[in-house]
Amino acid sequence: MKTREFWLLFFPSLVVMGGLLVLPLIRTVQWSFEEVRYGTPGVFVGFSNYIEAFTDERFGKAVLSTVTITIVTTFLLLVFGYLIAVGVNRMTRSRPIILGIMLVSYVLPNIVGAVAFSWLFDDNFGGIVNRFIELLSGNQVLWFTDQVPNGILIIANTVWHLVPFAMLIILAGLQGVPVELREAANIDGANPLQMHINVIIPTIRGVLGFVTLISIMDVLRLFDNLIPLSPQAQAIGNESIMLYVYSVAFSNGAQRLGLGSAVNVLTILIILVMLIPFIRSIFKEAKVVR
């Protein structure tokens, strides 16, 4: 294909992505060095937005809680995703039904799923989970106003929402494990547990790495499901980084655009650093393939 043809075909997408992704990003970087409000030109203030972010105790808390939730959620997604994928892989005829049911929580808007989830737990709404716990232990759990139970609730909802994705990717990985490999391990006398730990998991480690990466990136951006699940997020210390940006730079007429943009830039930098090993492997592969 001639270069001219390539650009002709690529041009419309390039315009849209350049104008609506790259330019806004540049604006965010610019704003992060300015004192600025919507609709007015900003004043350059150097690194003071960044300094403010680093010294703001509230931001520190938001980072801590986001990172904690991300680590726990990612770990659970890998464990459950793997176990469910192994189970589904054994099913043949019932597989479409199981996949269909599992996909619902993933395809539905996150906020809708979180609303439904919150009603299961909320005492004010006769939440059935709480009734059950009270019957068993006699204690009332404050799912919405106590930091740790609320964190558990957020993690449970995030796992519920993302586990179908993790499961599907791992399932595809499992189907790529050569049967010869399993048979060889069988002949060598491996029991099922050894088979998983020594044979299957090392074989699909690339897939597991991919799931880990996607899950970290998704959970770091935690926002939608906190609206129904953690209405008092800031007060109880479960605010996420994105919720912090929203509340300083947008909600209820907030105008701290500079600070919000600085936090956005910092988040981008963290994500880029995490992506580096992955990006390198993609380029290495591209060179090998063709």
Binding site: P24, L120, V179, E285
Partner: protein, 297 residues
């Protein structure tokens, strides 16, 4: 012993056939325990929807009673109220039209771009994959807050078009990446044959490639539609009262009192029903798309 490394090109994931599954299945009894565990899991996965459906169908005075009421006369009042006392129909029309418009635009500009990339050396595609990954991982506010500022300056804030085109841009790296993987599987010899027969590039794309790409285009279309349909954050920032979407409406109802909450639940159920249908009817495409373009969640 060196183990065969599963590479990360997602195409490899999907094209690997479940080889020798039959042999394995023969020497194994039906997995009863696994089946029972998975059935239990399905119940857990569905429980929030079942519970919400019950809350919505209960008469308003006992909808959120504690302890919960188990025996009740189902009532559709919440749905009727939702339709009569709120602008739900408008929000639904907004949501669907934004999703349709963004799907059409994304495909019209995405198909030629994806085709061009699939016929170019692979390092260009690798670059695209990296870009798709980075833009996928981006904190949404880093793009959406400037969009808000720009849309106000241009006077297109709170229009369905602004929201649709914003969603096209946000999802376009993924759309192109997914389509490119499908195009890459069509042999290049076909291009050459069509060109020799006198087709131009564009004519060949229209007459030869697009008919062959049916399933790929369908898959990409379903995903772009779903992303637009699901989107909360972007719609929250870029819309006000004029083009509000259903997810934003549901979120604003949350701080309200009982009858309104029940209406929010009814709205949520109305979104859930078509999603159930999609999960079963279009499952093949969803699974293929997730594996083939596993860049976006």
């Amino acid at each position: 012993m060196t183990l065969p490394k599963i590479d990360l090109s997602t195409r490899a994931l999907i094209t690997v056939k479940p080889s020798g599954k039959r042999r394995v299945a023969l020497n194994r009894r039906p997995p009863r325990v696994t089946g029972a565990l998975l059935a239990a899991l399905c119940v857990v996965m569905l429980s929030p929807f079942v519970w919400m459906m019950m809350s919505v169908l209960k008469p308003t005075d006992v909808a959120f009673a504690n302890p919960p009421v188990w025996a009740f006369q189902p009532s559709f009042d919440a749905f009727i109220n939702l339709w009569e006392t709120t602008y739900f129909s408008d929000y639904l029309i907004n949501t669907v039209s934004v999703a349709v418009v963004s799907t059409v635009i994304a495909l019209v500009i995405g198909i030629p771009a994806a085709y061009a990339l699939s016929r170019f050396p692979s390092y260009v595609s690798a670059l695209l994959l990296v870009l798709a990954l980075i833009f996928r991982a981006l904190p949404r506010f880093a793009v959406v807050l400037p969009m808000y500022d720009i849309s106000r300056a241009l006077g297109i804030y709170d229009t369905r078009f602004a929201l649709a085109i914003a969603l096209v841009a946000i999802n376009q790296p993924f759309t192109i990446w997914l389509l490119r993987n499908f195009f890459a599987e069509i042999p290049r010899e076909l291009d050459e044959a069509a060109m020799i027969d006198g087709c131009t590039r564009i004519g060949m794309l229209r007459r030869v490639m697009i008919p062959l790409m049916g399933p790929g285009i369908l898959t990409a279309g379903i995903f772009v539609f779903l992303f637009a349909f699901q989107e909360y954050l972007t719609a929250l920032v870029l819309t006000d009262t004029g083009s509000k979407t259903v997810p934003v409406f549901i979120a604003t109802q949350l701080g309200q009192t009982l009858p309104l909450l029940q209406q929010a639940g009814a709205a949520a159920m109305l979104l859930t029903v078509p999603v159930f249908a999609i999960a079963f009817v279009a499952q093949k495409y969803l699974v293929a798309g997730l594996n083939d373009g596993a860049v976006k969640g």
